[in-house]
Symmetry: C2
Subunit: 255 residues, 2 copies
DNA sequence: CGTGCCAGGTGCCTT
DNA sequence: AAGGCACTTGGCACG
């Protein structure tokens, strides 16, 4: 655990190089200018930001607001430091071929430490979870739906849930965990058409299973003769409702 | 600029509340456990991470590696701190209804500062830039292409470049800055069909303009009678090549 | 590797 | 607010 307040460039460079070698996670509060070239080209004029170098050499530049880094370079970059009129950090990666340059005119704070974290996050509520739920509770689609397979691979993509109805007609289901749009319908169509061709059958029933559909998407769905089943993804928004009501009032009164 | 090494929970809570009120950017190196519920449900067991609270109350939890936060809550969350056996941070937001809880068993480092950054990043090489380039250099598509409009809005999406050929037939171009896939072709198809209907014409020429196409996408393109024009997005990979060669060797020798 | 596609996608813009 | 879509998308799984 190292912490340096307003170090000069030479000190900062030494600390940074040491921390990078030791694979420490580095956080840098600084005034900087950033240039990026690679998959695109970008320039960010001087301002105060937080630069992070992670233990896999991921490099992030964060503005004081916003969820996403304003500039970044992915893991495995080659990172170097130079001093002169400024402290300059360069990061370079191949595949994709990219280069980033951070010109730092003032280092306000520099901290670093090695973090140990073996845990992976576990998430419930993905599209796969939704498909599984439908497989287990086929009545969510219709009374006569009999699921047969999950996440079947085809050349045109993979089909979330497949099965048949009472009359032996194939049924294909495309799940979306959020409102389904035009894209979802076209995806469904691709699968239906492909399956028709491959299996040599004339009729295949196609379903969109989602919490909702956009209006245009619904129109397209009808045009092509597919169906919609309203299904909520599992474990969505189980946040306590009364607490949320109180929060709503609170935020309102403070705005 | 405040920096606290291994503060006790009570101190940390006070500092955090003060920093939050002052809208400072907070960085916290700590050992923590994270639970999230809202659009999905997730749990992350105890480990060492960096927690960031940005000046708009964006909350990020970063693992020691990887580009993206492992947990987050977007700007405008209501953030609170509690102490007891642990230091607990809760963040709550409505729309979407979400809740996050960070249970901190050890605070290794706590820093905060108010950052000032008025600059916006400027990016060159987007799809829009590509469309503009084609508009100015129509020969990139074909010798007889005459562009007329850019980013035309339609109900079924917006069309990157539109124009006609020498014979007065409408030409629609869908740009992709990376290899075009099945989705791109279906997008193009949607626009072509829509335009045919709206303008009441039988023939519309459709183009994909991209640096490349996937094999399946190419097949689909041919099936539907559309065309492909190989176009590189502007300013892509202008990184010095000889320097990259050296880097490649360097990384190889160090692996 | 490329190809396809989900993501707690995010962010932007337009109706 | 809803919808459509690009993104230096990122990330994974499968051929």
């Amino acid at each position: 655990m190292r912490s340096h307040v307003e170090p000069d460039f030479e000190t900062a460079k030494n600390v940074l190089e040491h921390a990078l070698r030791r694979r420490e996670l580095i956080t840098l509060y600084c005034e900087c200018m950033v240039k990026y070239e690679g998959r695109a080209y970008s320039k960010l004029e001087r301002g105060e930001r937080v630069v992070t170098i992670k233990q896999d050499n991921t490099l992030l530049v964060h503005k004081p607001t916003g969820r996403n880094p304003i500039n970044w370079i992915k893991e495995g970059a080659s990172i170097k430091f130079k001093t002169g009129d400024a402290l300059v950090i360069t990061a370079e990666s191949i595949n994709p071929r990219e280069h980033m340059m951070i010109n730092i005119s003032k280092v306000n704070l520099l901290v670093s430490a090695e973090l140990s974290d073996a845990e992976e996050v576990s998430i419930v509520g993905s599209e796969a979870d939704m498909a599984r739920m439908i497989y287990e509770k086929p009545y969510l689609i219709s009374d006569d739906f009999k699921p047969v397979s999950l996440e079947e691979q085809t050349k045109y993509g993979f089909i979330d849930v497949m099965g048949h109805n009472g009359k032996g007609t194939l049924v294909i289901i495309e799940c979306k965990r959020v409102t389904a749009g035009l894209n979802a319908v076209q995806q469904l169509r691709r699968y239906v058409e492909k399956i028709k061709k491959v299996k040599g059958v004339k009729k295949v029933v196609g379903y969109i299973a989602a919490p909702g559909m956009s209006k245009n998407a619904e129109g397209m769905l009808k045009d092509w003769g597919y169906k919609f089943a309203r299904v909520e993804p599992p474990n969505r928004n189980i946040v306590d409702k009364s607490r949320q009501q109180k929060l709503k009032k609170y935020l309102k009164s403070n705005s």
